[in-house]
């Protein structure tokens, strides 16, 4: 195979796919990128066997074929080369000659046949969704995905299509985040799968313009196809907890607070916490919210905020990080805190005239 391509185009494409490649792998081929020519383009593929990314870029194909090359090596060479056209030429014994102006390098590749095949979804009907919608929902919820591999079924995002609505849910057992949208979601499709966090983070990074994305799902894998890219991931087998049961329905204490002021105050409380002690006590009484932190060996912090609330006094303690994670992703002026008492889960929602149900966060308190 022999191709010629502007150096920046190739570098951008390599950087798109290489993030799934692990630096060290039991299988050396997994540290490589596969390059395969098409008519007047080349397709780059990288995989860790769980998540695969393919991306196609235009180039001049003077001899069709395929090769593999170390992703780390290729990307570091490309980023140091001058901005000219580069030519990749596969010789005998998988030796790749890379030339750029007067620079000539030789890289040792591996046999392309060794590269693991990536699942094709031929014959499966895709679901068309909006890239922007997906990205927004993923960004809102992915922070709550569990990182503890011992709770495997929680290490991904629940992706559910039902009645013309897309609902995504993430939880780590201490807080849960749910976001939903119906913009551009087809009515009749139903689907419910758990997508691993690595795939979600890759999609967050790569999803971009407001164009369609085609989603293919079968029993064990899912693919997202958009903008000359195709991401394939194994699905997490197992049951996701019943998220509807987790959202408390009978809480009656609704505290409405300005998002920006609440965020600033919570950020300040955080300066007085440490790894060992990470808790802020929130008490609300007669339109005043009192935030208090008492951390052994560190110090104390107290602040009062004006809020909209007239019910019975209520007191609860949270990990400030959990609250901030939500506030950072709240894009409206007011936030609503729905509480019952210090021992029951708190609910945080955006507030415009009424609490909004398209971004629901359940945060478990710290016992006072």
């Amino acid at each position: 195979m022999r191709i010629t391509i502007p150096r920046q185009d190739l570098l951008d494409t390599v950087n798109k796919v290489k993030s799934v490649v692990s630096a060290k792998s039991a299988l050396p081929i997994l540290t490589h990128i596969l390059m395969e020519t098409e008519k007047s383009s080349v397709r780059l593929a990288a995989t860790d066997l769980k998540v695969s990314i393919e991306c196609t870029v235009d180039c001049t194909v003077s001899r069709p074929g395929s090769l593999t090359v170390s992703s780390q090596r290729l990307s570091s060479i490309l980023s140091e080369l001058p901005d000219e056209d580069v030519t990749l030429d596969l010789g005998e014994n998988n030796v790749i000659e890379l030339t750029c102006g007067k620079i000539e390098t030789k890289l040792f590749g591996m046999a392309p046949e060794e590269f693991p095949p990536i699942r094709s979804f031929e014959g499966i009907e895709p679901i068309y969704l909006k890239q922007g919608t997906l990205k927004k929902l993923f960004v809102k919820t992915s922070f709550a995905i569990c990182t503890d591999q011992a709770r495997y079924n929680l290490t991904g995002l629940l992706f559910q299509l039902e009645k013309g609505k897309l609902v995504v849910v993430a939880t780590d057992g201490r807080r849960m985040s749910l976001a939903s949208d119906d913009e551009g979601v087809p009515q009749e499709v139903e689907q419910k799968v758990i997508i691993p966090s690595k795939m979600i983070h890759e999609l967050e990074r790569l999803l971009d313009e407001d164009m369609d994305v085609a989603v293919y799902v079968d029993e064990s894998q899912a693919a997202f196809v958009f903008a000359r890219m195709r991401l394939v991931s194994a699905l997490i087998e197992g049951n996701f907890p019943n998220y509807e049961m987790v959202i408390p329905q009978k809480h009656d204490k609704e505290v409405v607070v300005e998002t920006a002021k609440f965020t600033e105050a919570m950020r300040r409380t955080r300066t007085m916490t440490n790894e060992k002690f990470n808790s802020v006590r929130i008490s609300v009484r007669n339109e005043v919210m009192n935030l208090k932190v008492v951390t052994p060996e560190v110090g104390e912090y107290e602040e009062e905020l004006q809020v909209e609330y007239t019910g019975d006094p209520v007191e609860i303690a949270f990990n400030p990080e959990f609250v901030l994670d939500v506030l950072r992703r709240t894009d409206v002026e007011k936030t609503c805190l729905i509480l019952k008492d210090g021992m029951s889960p708190g609910v945080i929602k955006p507030f415009t005239e009424a609490p909004q149900d398209n971004f629901v966060n359940v945060v478990m308190p710290i016992r006072i």
């Binding site: 503890d148 709770r151 057992g173 907890p241 060996e297 889960p345 359940v362 478990m364 710290i366 016992r367």
Partner: protein, 396 residues
């Protein structure tokens, strides 16, 4: 100020049984077998050359008529608590450096008590009233000199080192009296003909640097003149909590080892909860009969203080400890990566943990009132109600 209880364990025994007074008392881990070491010898026994850390066998040879006791460690811990309570009335800056030793910063207590001598007098009489035990006290400008001076004041004495008097006090002492100078350092010093701290203080710095390196030389030079800067460290949160014991005889039977391990784990988790903390890591320590010591650790996804979860972690480690088919001499548990228990509630399966949390809370309450032995769980019950470990560990 530095305070050191005189022949602590032996003195406690004398208070418990006045008939032992004035006898050569030797307290050691396992006095009946050939394996224990002396933890304390009374002054009477010291006359025969018995000292702590000496094998029991050797002590028996030196002092055949001595009274050998296994020791009542809970009594010692109790007495230590009482001493601490007295010190707490003197100053908020109390550092218990071991079970029978403490540093107290009395700078701020002068006006309250009317000077150093009055403070020392008050402490000595209060401790005697509360526990019946003798102690030695030294008040000096810094911790280093205070510790050395306490040693000079023993037994049942008091020494005050006025500011400026440090170097003069230290000068005639042998280099081995300097806390922090190890046996190797002392050997080197002596081989250089430096026998006393006064000689050490007079050495040119360049020469010391050549032998010990810059940092150590600077420290030696300053310390030998009685210059110390370390401050009294008020007890901070522990970094780890461990319990370990040496068996009376090396064991091959893991069912018995596991019973002891379960008991040690209970001790650990109890101490952990008393501190109001949770652990993220549990380590199993095994010393085999050939003294090879191995540790196996497991980290938890989330910090815990529940016996059930920590025992489950240990169960995963036990097969690793068993891989070597050798007899086991010592077994231990260590809980580390400690954080304060914040009682973060859970969305799912929280009920189980909450329930156990409540059970253990009640159990700890009973233990407070009646003693640790009154509530025990699972395997550790196989040891019987009264557990006597050959070598109890009293570490935090």
């Amino acid at each position: 100020m530095h305070i050191d209880m005189d022949a602590f364990f032996a003195s406690v025994e004398e208070v418990r049984d006045p008939g032992l007074r004035g006898k050569a008392l030797i307290i050691g881990g396992d006095v009946d077998s050939s394996r224990g070491v002396v933890s304390t010898a009374s002054y009477e026994a010291r006359k025969y050359g018995v000292h702590s850390a000496m094998p029991i066998v050797q002590a028996r040879k030196l002092c055949p008529h001595g009274i050998f006791l296994r020791g009542n460690f809970h009594l010692y811990a109790e007495a230590s608590e009482k001493v601490r309570a007295v010190l707490d009335t003197v100053s908020p800056m109390v550092q218990m450096s071991s079970i029978d030793e403490a540093y107290v910063d009395v700078t701020g207590s002068q006006r309250l008590f009317g000077g150093d001598d009055a403070i020392a007098q008050y402490i000595k009489s209060s401790i005697h009233r509360e526990t019946g035990l003798p102690c030695s006290i030294a008040i000096a400008p810094n911790k280093l000199v205070a510790k050395i001076a306490t040693d000079l004041a023993k037994p049942d004495g008091y020494l005050r080192v006025a500011p400026g008097g440090e170097a003069a006090l230290l000068a005639p002492l042998p280099v081995r009296k300097l806390p922090g100078a190890g046996p190797r350092t002392c050997e080197v010093l002596e081989s250089l003909g430096i026998l006393t701290l006064g000689q050490l203080a007079a050495m040119p710095e360049v020469m010391l640097e050549r032998v010990f390196g810059q940092a150590a030389a600077l420290w030696l030079r300053r310390a030998s003149r009685g210059i110390g800067e370390s401050v009294v460290e008020v007890a901070s949160a522990p970094k780890s909590i461990s319990r370990e014991t040496t068996f009376e005889e090396d064991l091959l039977d893991w069912s018995r080892i596991e019973e002891t391990l379960a008991y040690l784990t209970e001790r650990c988790t109890y101490a952990l909860r008393e501190e109001g903390m949770e652990a993220k890591r549990v380590t199993l320590k095994v010393r085999y009969s050939d003294f090879e010591t191995k540790t196996f650790a497991k980290s938890f996804a989330e910090a815990t203080c529940l016996d059930t979860e920590i025992a489950a972690g240990l169960r995963e480690l036990i097969p690793k400890g068993r891989e070597r088919r050798a007899r086991v001499r010592l077994i231990g548990v260590c809980l580390s990566c400690l954080t304060y228990n914040q009682h973060q509630l859970r969305l799912f399966d929280g009920e189980h943990a909450e329930k156990w949390g409540r059970v253990l809370e009640s159990a700890d309450g009973i233990r407070h009132k009646l003693g640790f032995e009154y509530v025990r769980f699972g395997k550790s019950m196989g040891l019987g109600r009264k557990v006597t470990l050959a070598t109890p560990s009293l570490s935090r």
